[in-house]
Amino acid sequence: MIWNPKKESMSRDEMHSLQSARLHATVKRVYHNVPFYRKKMQELDLEPGDIQSIDDLSKLPFTTKQDLRDNYPFGLFAMPKSQIVRVHASTGTTGKSTVVAYSRKDIDIFSEVVTRALVSAGVTAEDVIQIAFGYGLFTGGLGLHYGAENLGATVVPISGGNTAKQIQLLQDFGSTVLACTPSYAAYLFEALQESGADAGALPLRVGIFGAEPWTPAMKAKIEEGLKIKAFDIYGLSEIIGPGVSVGCDAGEWLHISEDHFVPEIVDPTFLKPMSEGQTGELVFTTITKEAMPLLRYRTRDLSSLNYAPCECGRTNARMSKIYGRSDDMLIIRGVNIFPTQVESILLEIPEAKPHYQLVVDRQGSLDTLEVQVEIDDSYFSDELVELSKINKKIKHKIESVLGISVILKLVESKTIARSEGKAKRVIDNRQI
């Protein structure tokens, strides 16, 4: 099903003209209303008139998370505060939090794109959707909420955490759709199993999971465990929140609401645009947002683009599942390592659970990578020889893929924190 066929299935030519007109208007607005952008454009000797079409996009300056921090809290607003109806903010784990703003029309756009996402996942007005994304400053909860209400589904705004309650409501309310992070979905499944409940007997049929990278294998595992069809929802608060793109029935790509957010892929080191199909850093320009439009925002997410029409009937650009973060990328002894690589490997090893943590340290001048893995219950042996064999098997597999030696440590269950928000996968203790 397609919620808005006019916008999701338009021809590439129509999309080009729509985007061009909207980009032109956006650039004009930020030039006049946001001193930060006026200054950046002046430094590049650019005037709004230089941006006539989407083909001029690469002339524009980039925006980074640091720019948002530098303009904390309201410096990038493009309209008076009286017209702003909501703000969201990041938790700011690595510094000052970043603030984003919405006008009434922005909230409508947010609802619209989330509704598109839900419909792409097969959700209808008949569904009961349990929203286990956090409500509050994080965009996940409220974003899904407005989209689901817009669709007319029955919303259960339970927010994140409180696993016992989640399970109770899944059973009592017969929720048919669950929206949360994939790691929380995996955690819920384990908790369901422990409570003795039969996950397959629940009416749950669709999962809308996002806010952290996950692998196709993890998706398969959640789908099999919870007996649901899982869809990837992608987004970031700077662009709007969840709903920037979403998976469909026809494959692993995510459809971008391209009439609102124009994607690019750039080389993360040299910031040069890359061509269709190449993997690089995903960059978005918002072309309809009023309160806080962003030009060429660097997401730090690694992905690739695909402009071919999709079997599902949509013609908008598609992005690959997020491969990793350009800033999560660990460089260990000169080798680039992504945490998701480790996850993929673990999912292929029945003896290991896909819960892991990477601890990077430096001993003398040598970087060390410790991989902490939980052993699957059914493979736990009380014979040290057997445990050591499992240890060696996992270590060998990881080393053969990563190409560097690792310290493999089998750990007790649940000592690897299952976060109810985003999973913390990497601890880097190096003092560089």
């Binding site: 042996s381 014979e383 040290l384 445990l387 440590k409 007790e412 269950s413």
Partner: protein
């Protein structure tokens, strides 16, 4: 005699062992025999307890990896050569001893053995 042994995976970290014994204490479970096999990173705690199923359940609830396995328990006179005699019986039928632990007191030795064939081993060592 075949008895049930409870094996628990524990990390080599201060306090981990205390935690396990506390959980068993809270569930009013008594430990009658115990051995800890350890490596650099982790260990396996092997115990004979008063209620194996209940102990396994409470530990699982706290997130521990546990396993219940069959081991055999024998009593020999506490004299030189007594153990060797028993082990010869097993060796004669090519039954491997994977690990064992025990103690002696009052002229008797009590031993717990994990073997490759608990059923046959217990018949031989009756």
């Amino acid at each position: 005699m075949i008895i049930k042994q409870l094996s628990v995976f524990v990390q080599n970290e201060a306090g981990r062992l205390v935690k396990v014994t506390e959980i068993l204490h809270d569930a009013a479970i008594n430990i009658s025999a115990l051995s800890l096999a350890e490596t650099e990173e982790y260990g396996v705690l092997r115990m004979i307890v008063s209620d194996t199923d209940k102990a396994a359940e409470v530990l699982r609830q706290s997130g521990y990896k546990v396993k219940i396995i069959d081991v055999i328990c024998i009593v020999t006179p506490d004299v030189p050569g007594a153990l060797s005699e028993k082990l010869k019986l097993l060796a004669a039928e090519k039954i491997d001893v994977i690990y064992m632990y025990g103690y002696s007191n009052d002229g008797k030795a009590h031993l717990v053995l994990k073997t490759s064939n608990p059923k046959r081993a217990s018949e031989l060592l009756l």
